[in-house]
């Protein structure tokens, strides 16, 4: 191959070569994510895409993330890889090693997310790291819901451990994992799936380096991070400098929670400070800072720089802080299982700060948190403890209306997951859906209407009682309209006899009764 630097068109060719390699890296992590999706056991991963995948350099800088995946995972995984490197120094890593954690503070916010990180080698030398995350349906403890008083009640905790040593699985750890979940088969299968997808990523990276005759990805990594950082800064520079504030109130656990933000635009970038936000609560809707940062950064990216790939460079433009002890910076040990309820509200909080700066881009408030229906109960032919089945059904309400068009009905935002198919969930658990339809008229009124929520009705197929691990919000405080648009309809949770259920916490659906949910509608935009 000709040394391109020495040709007449060298500089231009080099630039183009960098672009080509960058595209390739994005393709590599997309392959990694697709492999994870296709081999996953967890229904919320395989049907809904609750996963993330990315490639990192040896300093722990994220160079590329897969488009497939969900923001809460990606941006927090981006931070977690540095913790892996702290615990397992690069020079101790060997080919065939895999490392694992589900530490909510140094991983992706709750015990249900396993993060696996794998060193990638080329010609015998370590050149980078692949990391991926998926959401497991059951990790023991009291189950996936907000009822725990501390993190120890929420299930098995896996510190930063070596899962696989030069190709040898850590069977002791695998046995511990199997013994601490109600779904041992699926959980073990998902661990294999995480390993496998990183292997595929590592193999592709090595092939790419051979093809482009690279010894390291440092130069490429710096190019990616520099270009991305500069591009985000250029977008930020278009905004008038100043401090912009917003506050949003959500249902919370026993009392409403105020999410308060001050967003500062200056020449160095954007900072968001959540000072003034309500304190931690006694059960599991608290948010570790890593997850707060993940969804805040996501909201900023959507509003300010949607076309710029997510990586260490683009993420470096945002500085995000929350006071320790606030619900957005929960201290280690706090209960955090359902941290998504509060974390997924943060893009709306950020949007409120930016609404006057970007009036043509910022939508009204939406449902924002997933309306995941987690059910468990007895199942025929499975006597494992009291609970033969545990299932999480992903559903959504409506999104907020946009300045120039309606909101989206029954659509996840900011989460990137898919809804669960009825026919698959009924095969996975003894439940029957009697209804899953749009909730007509639930989107807020306005020049452009908010997206509609859904009406969902579920019964136990065997006529047994079952538990609902409720984790819903926007029941007391509906999504607000913007620029004169009406609010979306608030959500409701009831039994078929009309009994109102709480939005959060484990409650019994008695035998013969059905669960009735109405998910919220998005806010409207502009006066009607």
């Amino acid at each position: 191959m000709t040394d391109m630097n020495h040709s007449g068109q060298g500089a231009g060719i080099d630039l183009i070569r960098m672009q080509v390699m960058w595209n390739r890296l994005l393709a590599v992590v997309e392959e990694q994510a697709q492999a994870l999706l296709r081999t996953a056991f967890s229904t919320i991963v395989r049907e809904c895409g609750d996963l993330s995948a990315g490639v990192f350099d040896l300093n722990g800088r994220m160079l590329a993330q897969a488009v497939t995946g969900t923001p809460g995972h990606v941006n927090s995984m981006a931070e977690s890889v540095r913790h892996f490197i702290d615990r397992f120094p690069i020079e101790t890593m060997r080919e065939g090693d895999h490392y694992i954690t589900n530490d909510p503070w140094r991983g992706t916010g709750h015990l249900n997310d396993f993060v696996v990180t794998t060193p990638a080698f080329h010609e015998g030398r370590i050149v980078g790291l692949f990391s991926c995350t998926s959401h497991l349906i059951d990790i023991g403890g009291i189950g996936f819901g907000p009822d725990g008083h501390d993190v120890f009640a929420e299930g098995l905790s896996i510190p930063f451990l070596k899962l696989c040593d030069r190709g040898e699985m850590n069977e002791t750890l695998m046995a511990m994992i199997r013994a601490n979940t109600r779904l041992p088969v699926e959980t073990e299968g998902d661990v294999y799936s995480l390993l496998g997808c990183n292997d595929i990523g590592a193999r592709r990276l090595s092939e790419m380096m051979a093809e482009f005759k690279l010894d390291s990805v440092d130069g490429l990594g710096s190019h990616i991070c520099d270009v991305s950082r500069r591009a985000v800064l250029a977008e930020v520079a278009k905004l008038p400098q100043g401090v912009y504030r917003n506050a949003m109130t959500i249902d919370g656990l026993d009392a409403p929670i105020d999410l308060v933000a001050a967003l500062t635009v200056n020449e160095d970038g954007i900072s968001v400070d959540f000072d003034g936000t309500s304190p931690v609560v006694r059960k599991g809707i608290n948010v570790p800072l890593a997850y707060t940062r993940a969804y805040t950064a996501f909201g900023l990216a959507c509003a300010i720089a949607p076309g710029i790939p997510n990586n260490a460079g683009s993420l470096s433009v945002c500085d995000i802080e929350a006071p320790e002890g606030s619900i957005l910076n929960a201290p280690r040990g706090a209960a955090v299982s359902s941290r998504h309820i509060v974390g997924q509200m943060l893009p709306d909080v950020v949007f409120g700060c930016l609404a006057e700066l970007l009036p043509a881009r910022i939508p009204a408030e939406g449902t924002s948190c997933l309306w995941n229906v987690t059910l468990r109960g007895r199942a025929k032919g499975n006597d494992l403890g009291r609970y033969g089945f545990a299932v999480t059904i992903t559903t959504n309400g409506g999104t907020g209306a946009r300045p120039d068009k309606a909101g989206l009905s029954a659509t996840a935002f900011p989460s990137g997951v898919k809804g669960s198919p009825v026919e698959i969930m009924e095969a996975a658990a003894p439940i029957v859906f009697w209804r899953r339809e749009l909730r007509d008229g639930s989107g807020g009124a306005g020049r452009h209407r908010g997206g509609d929520g859904q009406v969902i009705e579920i019964e136990n197929r065997d006529g047994e009682a079952m538990d609902l691990l409720a984790a819903f919000d926007r029941i007391d405080f509906a999504p607000r309209g913007r620029a004169g648009g009406g609010d979306g309809a608030a959500g409701t949770v009831r039994l078929s006899d009309g009994t109102k259920l709480k939005g959060k916490g484990t409650q019994t659906i008695p035998a013969g009764q059905r669960l009735l949910l109405e998910t919220p509608g998005g806010g409207g935009f502009g006066a009607a």
Binding site: M1, M4, G8, Q9, G10, G12, I13, L15, I16, Q19, N23, R24, L26, A27, E30, E31, Q34, A35, R38, A40, F41, R46, G49, V185, E186, E188, G189, Y192, L195, G196, R204, V227, C302, P306, G307, I308, R361, I362, T394, D404, K405, L408, A410, T411, A412, G416, V417, K418, G419, E423, I424, E426, A427, F433, W434, R435, R436, E437, L438, Q454
Partner: protein, 697 residues
């Protein structure tokens, strides 16, 4: 004796007609597609082509036909007014969809519009479980009661899709019978026949699409049949399906959704036949036209197949933004990369190419028809790959200066690059986009792309195939003869085939071989008559597949089955082999389950009766006519390279790249580092020199 065959491919712009005279000659012509009455263009092209070969309707023994009409009707929302009858409580399956966003960061996305608006979505009380039990019987009176509303709406097509109907179809069949009696002019499609597989969104969409295109397609096919008869054609007409097989007119009218993308399927068949003729076991087919590029994997002469196809992707060809159809298809990926794809700079100053295309109107800047944004074709011209005076056989003059100016304006000046370097950037990005698409596609199928041979056809492919091969590490590229009408040529080779898929849940540990045999016997009984009706006594083969996964997984792996009763151990072994091939490692001891089963009945693929390009081979070994200034990416500069006319290259040809080979419909660029030879059937074969040396050592 009537042993000539016709192949007709109706595309969005052109209708291609190919003729196999049965006496060793292939002819072809292109006419403009007549959108209001497509059969008019077909008849015009057919008669013209027959006339030029001195043949008449009575000489034709078989008519093969594929079309994008169904696809275009969906994309342009020009299908029938369609209603849906669903299970009570599930009125909005079509609109709720996947509940996701295909672009995570774009706050302004639009989802594809549901084919059936809410006021035409009806429900009736009934309920079936995933294992086929009746939870609530069908309320027949409620079905009856829908008649006035459906009739008053002036509906032409009707889809019935009940929850879990794949497990038990009697409720749907009964509802159809009731409605058909009362609404005799409405075409009714039921999900348990159109797409009997789990996941309500995909099944309902597929059934609704079938109902949506049925009146249009059935009407068109009926008129075509009449017109052909009126012209004196007595030959049977077979339709190309998305799955790459041929089926009868009658079946096509019942399941028109299976005709979606049948044109590109023909291209894949052509590539498969070329692969067989050249003895290539592992092929990547690459079809690049004006708007899109299609890439398909072909193993042992058989294109890869899949069970879901996404139609009508919103603007950017973004994965997940279209309507998912669950039908047997030739698995290919299509990306917005063609000669007309437009090049721009994004917010980061990076060159992007496509997915939007300048199409044929206004077309690339070089066409001089009002296009102002630079395209891939403009870059190809600037880089010397196209001859401004010899485009489309010299019938069209290209404006090289205007192309170069446009590239300079849009890309070169802002990046401070010379126009040629910017043109190379455009070309590199589009080639890299295609290479990345091919790589992701390969990993999704667990194959190593570098060990494959590239078969390239379609107007723009031969210009880019060499560079694409270099990027993918591929050592061998074949440019078939008559590549310009590749799809229609492909129809001539297609087998007559029909595939039936049935959902039946079985744990491997509980496998009852007899019940599976019974299922396959039923499927055989459904598929065989459809194939025999068109097979003309040809021997039929049967291929069985099971879709297996570990218990608890959500995505299945297709596993080929032997004919005859199954054995548990053997089946597990087959599954593990397939799983390992795809994902590298198996999960020890984990239980395995089957979700669905498929059976395909087909005739063998037709050995080419007459190979394309059978004009007497030129004797010459290739005397270079002229030299042309061509950008050589391997050297990162322009060089003077020889230009050869393809018609002058005989079997003795052996030339070393870089060079250019021209013909009326396209131009082949042979990169530096590749040699080119000519196969006895007229295909150009490009081989990487390094690989040739290694092979010789």
């Amino acid at each position: 004796m009537a042993n000539a065959r016709l192949a007709i491919d109706i595309g969005g712009t052109f209708t291609d007609v190919a003729l196999d005279t049965g006496a060793g000659t292939i002819g072809a012509t292109k006419v403009l597609t007549t959108h209001k009455a497509p059969e008019e263009g077909v008849i015009d092209g057919v008669l013209r082509l027959l006339g030029s070969h001195g043949l008449g309707p009575a000489d034709i023994g078989l008519v093969l036909h594929g079309t994008t009409l169904a696809t275009n009707a969906i994309i342009e929302r020009k299908g029938a007014k369609t209603a849906l009858v669903a299970t009570q409580g599930f009125r909005d399956v079509l609109e709720i969809g996947y509940e996701d966003r295909y672009d995570q960061y774009d706050l302004g996305i639009e989802k594809p519009r549901a084919l059936v608006p809410r006021d035409l979505r009806f429900t009736v009380p009934e309920r079936i479980t995933f294992d086929g039990e009746v939870l609530k019987p069908l309320d027949e009176a409620a079905v009856e009661a829908l008649v006035p509303a459906i009739a008053a709406a002036g509906v032409e097509g009707l889809a019935i899709a009940f929850i879990h109907a794949y497990a038990r179809g009697d409720h749907e069949a009964r509802a159809r019978d009731i409605l058909a009696r009362a609404l005799p002019d409405v075409s009714i499609s039921i999900s348990s026949e159109v797409s009997p597989e789990a996941r309500e969104y995909e099944r309902t969409v597929t059934t609704a699409v079938n109902a949506y295109v049925q009146p249009l397609m059935a009407g068109y096919l009926g008129r075509l049949e009449q017109r052909l008869q009126a012209e004196g054609f007595a030959a049977p007409v077979l339709l190309m399906t998305s799955g790459g097989g041929l089926t009868t007119l009658q079946t096509a009218r019942r399941f028109p959704v299976r005709l979606v993308e049948s044109g590109p399927a023909g291209g894949a068949i052509l590539a498969a036949e070329v692969a067989k003729a050249c003895g290539e076991a592992r092929v990547l087919s690459f079809d690049m036209g004006g708007t899109t590029a299609k890439i398909c994997l072909i193993d042992d002469g058989t294109p890869q197949t899949a069970r879901v196809f996404e139609v009508d992707r919103q603007s950017r060809f973004a994965k997940g933004s279209g309507l998912p159809l669950r039908i047997p298809v030739i698995e290919m990926i299509e990306i917005g990369a063609g000669g007309g794809s437009i090049a721009r700079l994004d917010a980061l100053g990076r060159i992007t190419v496509g997915p939007d295309s300048a199409g044929s109107e206004p077309g690339p800047v070089a066409y001089g028809r009002g296009g102002t944004e630079p395209t891939v074709t403009d870059a190809d011209l600037t880089l010397g790959r196209l001859d401004p005076d010899g485009f489309a056989g010299g019938t069209m003059q290209l404006d090289a200066a205007a192309a170069k100016d446009a590239i300079d304006r849009a890309i070169g000046a802002p990046l401070k690059l010379e126009a040629e370097t910017a043109a190379f950037g455009i070309s590199e990005i589009v080639d890299e986009n295609m290479a990345n698409a091919a790589r992701v596609h390969a990993v999704e199928n667990g194959v190593d792309v570098a060990s494959r041979t590239l078969v390239a056809f379609g107007g723009a492919a031969p210009l880019h195939a060499g560079r694409l091969a270099a990027k993918l590490g591929i050592d061998r590229v074949i440019i078939p003869a008559n590549a310009g009408v590749g799809s229609a040529i492909g129809f001539l080779h297609a087998p007559i085939a029909f595939e039936v898929v049935r959902g039946l849940y079985v744990r491997l540990a509980d496998l009852d071989p007899a019940s599976i045999e019974t299922l396959f016997a039923e499927m055989n009984a459904a598929a065989r008559p459809i194939v025999s009706a068109a097979a003309g006594g040809s021997e039929l083969t049967e291929a069985r597949l099971a879709y297996l996964r570990y218990v608890g997984q959500g995505h299945e792996v297709p596993v080929a089955l032997p004919t005859g009763p199954l054995d548990q151990e053997d089946l597990r072994g087959r599954f593990e082999a397939a799983y390992r091939a795809l994902f590298g490692r198996i999960i020890p001891e984990a239980p395995v389950e089957a979700l669905s089963w498929s059976l395909a009945v087909s005739t063998p693929a037709r050995p080419a009766v007459a190979r394309p390009g059978t004009a007497a081979p030129a004797a010459g070994a290739g005397e270079a006519g002229t030299l042309r200034r061509l950008f050589v990416p391997e050297a990162a500069r322009f060089d003077k390279v020889p230009v050869h006319a393809r018609s002058a290259l005989g079997p003795a040809t052996r030339l070393a790249g870089p060079l250019v080979i021209t013909e009326a419909a396209t131009t082949t660029v042979v990169p530096d580092g590749f040699d080119v030879t000519v196969h006895e059937e007229g295909h150009l074969v490009l081989t990487r020199r390094m690989a040739m040396r290694e092979a010789a050592e």
